[in-house]
């Protein structure tokens, strides 16, 4: 099994981190992974994005042209990558920054106000964790427990409060996707 993903948004929204957490967790679950970011001036143009591949077999091309899963944290990202998502694929849209969502047939959409929800949880920074929660619920790419363990070992002693917020955001995302 091979899943190809693109996560995209404004620089600072945490799109690249979505990729990193998913790649890290999938690696822990014994999968092959690759994480290929955009870099340079493109980062400032509104679509800081990362291509992630998770696969049971060796990953050949790390360049993703037609993703199975795409997260658009802002409108330029949705416009740029939305049309190339594969049939039966999943698109997660941050409704707060994507005023113009034209849904394609045959693609699964989760459209949610991620900025608003993250503020309700208590920290803007966990916006990307909600998106990961949605992907966990909708697909079997990674398990919640793997990511939770990873975050716990990373944050427990450094920032227990942020850890709790992150875990809450992932669960909120999973709820949204149900």
């Amino acid at each position: 099994m091979k899943s190809e993903m693109i996560f995209s948004g404004f620089g600072g929204q945490g799109a690249l981190a979505i990729g990193k957490f998913i790649a890290q967790s999938a690696m822990s679950e014994g999968k092959n992974v690759s994480w290929l970011p955009s870099y340079g001036p493109e980062m400032r143009g509104g679509t800081a994005n990362v291509s992630v591949v998770v696969s049971d077999t060796e990953i050949a091309s790390p360049v993703v042209s037609f993703p199975h899963i795409m997260v658009a944290l802002n409108q330029p990202s949705l416009d740029k990558f939305g049309p190339s998502v594969k049939a039966n694929g999943l698109i997660v849209v941050n409704e707060d920054l994507c005023p113009n969502v034209v849904k394609r047939d045959g693609v699964d959409y989760v459209v949610a106000p991620l900025n608003k929800i993250s503020k309700e949880i208590g920290d803007d920074k966990v916006l990307n964790m909600i998106a990961i929660g949605i992907i966990i619920e909708k697909t079997n790419i990674i398990k919640y427990d793997t990511l939770a363990d990873h975050l716990t070992s990373f944050l427990k002693d450094r920032n227990a409060e942020l850890l709790a917020l992150n875990l809450e955001a992932i669960k909120k995302g999973m709820e949204l996707a149900r």
Binding site: K20, A23, Q24, M27, N32, V33, S34, W35, L36, P37, Y39, G40, I59, A60, S61, P62, V63, S65
Partner: protein, 360 residues
């Protein structure tokens, strides 16, 4: 061991270099290799090594020359425009027979070009670049793991033959994260021993118990007869390297291949995806991936061109550089087709499939 970590190529190769006993690193910042110099800045002090941000690429490679002359494992890194600046020093390293490792995280050119991945420095790396008759051993990684493994391989090769070694990577491999597994750290004692293997030629104190010596680190031979001997001696070393060190990967190479593709580094990964798809549709296409681009696997490529192979395809992220070596290897037996992508763009598997399908 057995612990995989997710790391960028730029960081992984730096970590692997430190583990292989590199305690001296001199470089100048340039995108897309910045993570490499930053990693060294962070980690070298922790192993009591030297990290020095030089005033220029030119100074950095000459610091490498100085440190290599002391018989210590030393490395520098840069990206294409910076590697051009280092070429003077690389020629001197070759002339003075100094072991050192140079990493090129290639980007688009010519000139300032852009900062996206490219393979436009193949000629520069494999055919010269600096002045005079010399060769670099050039290793071309195609994954983060291989990039990291090449750090220790290149130090070993540099020490074995007393030649500079280049790792010819690109912005994609530098920026990409993949799982990587590292070898153990060399101990301080092992590193000291590595330095001592060069005592018969390198600069060191007279207090090693062997008495007085006068070693010269030098590429100047003003007498043409002496310089001739020196260059012919280099030729012998290069022949030895060509005999012993050629490395390549074969991917679905068999007696029934209808087509054979040749690609190195990042380009080879995209080609693998494309031929996986085509082979799933019933084709039989193989890939040869040179791992050393100098010495080049001419014989290994020639061997795969048997009666069933109708055509050879070469894919590179440049206007067609390695294709000249492939043509030498194929030697006119079958047509050689080329497809390149330039400007720092990377072709997609779809584009490659289209190119091949045009000849079905």
């Amino acid at each position: 061991m057995g612990n995989k970590v997710l790391m960028k190529g730029n960081e992984a190769v730096a970590e692997a270099a430190i583990r292989s006993g590199c305690r001296l690193y001199f470089a100048y910042p340039i995108t897309p290799q910045s993570e490499l110099i930053e990693y060294m800045a962070k980690m070298m002090p922790k192993v009591k090594g030297t990290f020095l941000q030089a005033e220029s690429e030119v100074a950095a490679i000459n610091m490498v020359y100085g440190a290599a002359g002391m018989g210590k494992r030393v490395m520098t890194s840069s990206s294409s425009p910076g590697i051009s600046l280092k070429m003077e020093g690389i020629s001197y390293l070759a002339g003075a027979r100094l072991p050192a490792v140079i990493i090129n995280v290639q980007r688009g050119g010519p000139g300032l070009g852009d900062i996206q991945p490219a393979q436009g420095d193949y000629f520069q790396a494999t055919k010269g670049g600096g002045h005079g008759d010399y060769r670099l051993i050039v290793l071309a990684p195609s994954s983060v793991q291989e990039f990291a493994d090449m750090a220790s391989d290149s130090f070993d090769l540099a020490d074995k033959y007393r030649v500079p070694v280049m790792i010819l990577s690109d912005g994609l491999l530098g920026q990409m994260m993949e799982p990587v597994e590292f070898k153990e750290y060399k101990t301080d004692k092992e590193i000291e021993e590595l330095g001592k293997q060069h005592y018969d030629w390198c600069i060191h104190t007279n207090e090693d118990g062997k008495g007085h010596h006068h070693n010269e680190i030098n590429s100047l031979e003003i007498d043409p007869n002496v310089l001739e001997r020196h260059v012919l001696n280099l030729e012998q070393i290069y022949k030895e390297i060509e005999k012993n060190e050629v490395k390549h990967e074969e991917y679905n190479i068999n007696d029934n291949n209808e087509f054979v593709c040749v690609a190195f580094g990042t380009a080879a990964r995209i080609v693998k995806s494309a031929i996986d798809d085509l082979n799933a549709e019933g084709r039989n296409i193989g890939l040869i991936r040179p791992i050393t681009v100098w010495p080049y696997p001419y014989k290994e490529i020639a061997k795969t061109i048997h009666g069933n192979v109708k055509r050879v395809f070469v894919f590179e992220l440049n206007l067609g550089q390695m294709v000249e070596d492939v043509k030498l290897a194929v030697n006119g037996k079958v047509p050689v087709e080329f497809m390149g992508k330039v400007g720092g763009l990377v072709f997609t598997p779809e584009e490659i499939k289209e190119k091949i399908k045009a000849y079905l």
